[in-house]
């Protein structure tokens, strides 16, 4: 059973949702980044979503973009980012870890090689921010061949046909985007997307996790109330980490509490 399946089964049995914080790997440097990742696990994160820094993160807003620049400035490369995940997984073997990346980093490594390297590092799922369903075939095939779950995005404007494809292709979980736009808490999460969740479930999708604009415990509660299986918080987590390790710990703890 995949770590995601085990996680969602356990949470369901406890009547809980998943809280999945996001940080950019190597921000502000590799050592501090490792401490931040461990801190999130110790304070209740059910799984982690980790960004591989890319020079042109067009799906990200200013907060994650700045984190990316710090990570790149500190010399984070894809190889070092994966090594960081390896360290983390050696410490927490049961923790599901998702990688968020961009198409060119996958393509530059060689699509098959990228997923094999990710698998070797202990990555459980990969979401490629700028690969939509239309272009996903080689990425999904390589992911499946390597034993990594391909995660697809379901945006609020998706057609039924797109949602069907998302449900069919996405493994581990489906990343439901709460609203139009890029990542960030400048714009809050949108209204609950009941119809999209229903459609995904009708097509028997993997668990649905809501992301984009989530930074408050009340939003986690609202996501679960709307039928989501969990919530992802990116920019707000990055901002908490920018403040202090204590702020990051308290933030994760508070968000996780809201998922119970």
């Amino acid at each position: 059973m995949s770590l995601y399946n085990a996680l969602f089964a356990r949470l369901k049995a406890n009547n809980e949702g998943a809280f999945i914080p996001f940080l950019t790997l190597g921000d502000p440097d590799l050592e501090t980044s490792f401490e931040h990742l461990c801190l999130m696990v110790e304070n209740g994160a059910d799984a982690l979503e980790l960004g591989m820094p890319f020079s042109d993160p067009v799906a990200d807003g200013p907060t994650i973009q700045a984190a990316t620049l710090r990570a790149l400035g500190a010399g984070t490369t894809p190889t070092k980012a994966l090594a960081l995940i390896r360290r983390l997984k050696d410490k927490y073997p049961q923790l599901p870890v998702g990688l968020l990346t961009y198409a060119n980093l996958v393509f530059a490594a060689g699509i098959d090689q990228f997923y094999q390297d990710a698998k070797a590092a202990g990555v459980d799922s990969v979401l490629v921010a700028d690969v939509p369903i239309k272009e996903s075939a080689p990425f999904v095939a390589a992911a499946k061949a390597a034993g990594v779950a391909p995660v697809m995005i379901a945006p609020p404007n998706a057609s039924e046909a797109t949602l069907k494809a998302v449900a069919e292709l996405s493994e581990g979980y489906v990343y439901l985007v709460s609203r139009a736009g890029v990542t960030g808490t400048e714009t809050a999460a949108g209204k609950p997307l009941g119809h999209i969740i229903d459609t995904l479930k009708r097509f028997e999708s993997a668990p649905v996790v809501l992301g984009f604009g989530i930074g408050e415990p009340s939003q986690v509660r609202a996501a679960l109330a709307a039928g989501c299986d969990g919530a992802i918080s990116g920019s707000a987590t990055v901002k908490a980490a920018e403040r202090s390790p204590q702020a990051l710990a308290r933030f994760v703890e508070g968000m996780k509490a809201a998922s119970r």
Binding site: S55, L69, T77, N104, A108, M152, V177, A180, G181
Partner: protein
């Protein structure tokens, strides 16, 4: 089924966040239905003639040619309203914006020429325009920033990354992801996700179409080579489109060689031939071995882009077109030569194409006819030239 494939060989595609896919599908549909609509063509034709000033002349630059064996003809896109070829396709996309029932335009601009064209057309069609421009380009191209503002556009300087065109495209894409319902992203070159490379080519095709007829009228035959500068590739693909099937006509794209191809400070991704994925397309891309995108360098803001439109990558790979590079210094030299020889001040972008033509002409040992696309006029570049000359 769509009439255009998203791919040119292995290049092209639609590499955007899923949320933008419906907006691109909507644009594809509007574009293809417009192509079949005589009313659209009539309206666009009227604007091209009475607003933009088409057809542009074909001028034989007799004093420019350094070699009596070689005749050089200039396609005068510098005379298009707005000062560059950019206006041609912006008019078409402005009409498409209306067709899609949208009232706002998002655009990016490098040299500012696309921004100026967009601001112009937005003003004329009663649309709101937000234009992203790299902070460094705002510096280099101040007159164009002011022109855009005069015509009512909002100009948003982009400080991230290298502060040039690449970063302006990133910001425009972010804006579009948030506002695709009400806003059209009016992309300025023959690059980006499908259908933009096709769309921009079809509406820039008029350059080569006119030039072809004008060459036949002037000398009774087609040129030996058609030459244009390549940033993203719109003026070049516009010139090339109607010549691609004319196998006797050499197609030459001129990339910005910056400080020299061996210095790493250039904007010549076709020269490097490393395939990558950026801004919605798979194409040749300047990048490091990890896939991080590298900053390009060119004295000309309009060519300062680390990637190139996918059809050019394909034309290069298949050998139908050849791509060469010209350095900053060579372009400036050609700029000055044209000013003196013919009383025409060309854009520094276009001066790259000219520099290649001059070099080729100087070396020619047999009769040859060269067609050079003079993609824009150089008024916007006077700051750059005066700074180089120590005049300010």
């Amino acid at each position: 089924m769509s009439r255009f494939s998203p791919y040119f060989g292995e290049f092209g595609g639609t590499y955007v966040p899923e949320i933008l896919v419906p907006a691109l599908d909507q644009l594809t549909e509007a574009f293809e239905s417009a192509l079949d609509d005589p009313e659209f063509h009539q309206e666009l034709g009227k604007l091209l003639k009475h607003y933009a000033g088409r057809p542009t002349p074909l001028f034989e630059a007799t004093h420019l040619s350094p070699n009596p064996l070689v005749r050089i003809f200039l396609k005068r896109e510098d005379l298009v309203h707005g000062g560059a070829h950019k206006t041609n396709q912006v008019l078409a996309q402005g009409l498409l914006t209306q067709r899609m029932g949208k009232k706002e335009i998002i655009a990016e601009t490098g040299a500012g020429q696309h921004g100026v064209a967009t601001a112009m057309v937005a003003a004329m069609l009663g649309l709101k325009a937000r234009i992203y421009m790299g902070a460094k380009d705002c510096e280099r191209q101040q007159p164009n920033v002011y022109r855009m503002k005069l015509m009512g556009a909002e100009v948003i300087p982009v400080h991230s990354g290298s502060g040039t065109l690449k970063d302006a495209v990133n910001e425009a894409l972010r804006d579009w992801a948030a506002n695709y319902d009400s806003a059209h992203y009016l992309l300025g070159t023959a690059a980006g996700p499908h259908p933009f490379p096709h769309l921009v080519r079809e509406f820039q095709r008029i350059i080569g179409k006119e030039a072809k007829a004008q060459m036949l009228e002037a000398i009774g035959r087609l040129p030996d080579a058609a030459i244009a500068c390549v940033g993203g590739g719109s003026n070049a693909i516009g010139l090339f489109a109607d010549f691609i099937e004319e196998k006797d006509v050499e197609l030459v794209g001129v990339e910005p060689g910056g400080e020299g191809l061996d210095t790493g400070k250039h904007g010549a991704p076709i020269h490097l031939a490393r395939t990558g994925i950026l801004h919605g397309m798979k194409s040749y891309l300047m990048q490091d071995s990890d896939g991080q995108v590298e900053e390009s360098h060119s004295i000309s803001a309009g060519l300062d882009y680390p990637a190139v439109g996918p059809q050019h990558a394909y034309l290069a790979q298949t050998g139908r077109a050849q791509y060469v590079a010209v350095t900053d210094d060579e372009a400036i030299e050609a700029f000055k030569t044209l000013c003196r020889a013919e009383g025409i001040i060309p854009a520094i972008e276009s001066s790259h194409a000219l520099a290649y033509a001059l070099k080729r002409a100087a070396e020619a040992t047999k009769e040859e006819v060269l067609l050079v696309n003079l993609s824009g006029r150089g008024d916007k570049d006077l700051n750059t030239i005066m700074t180089l000359e120590g005049l300010q």
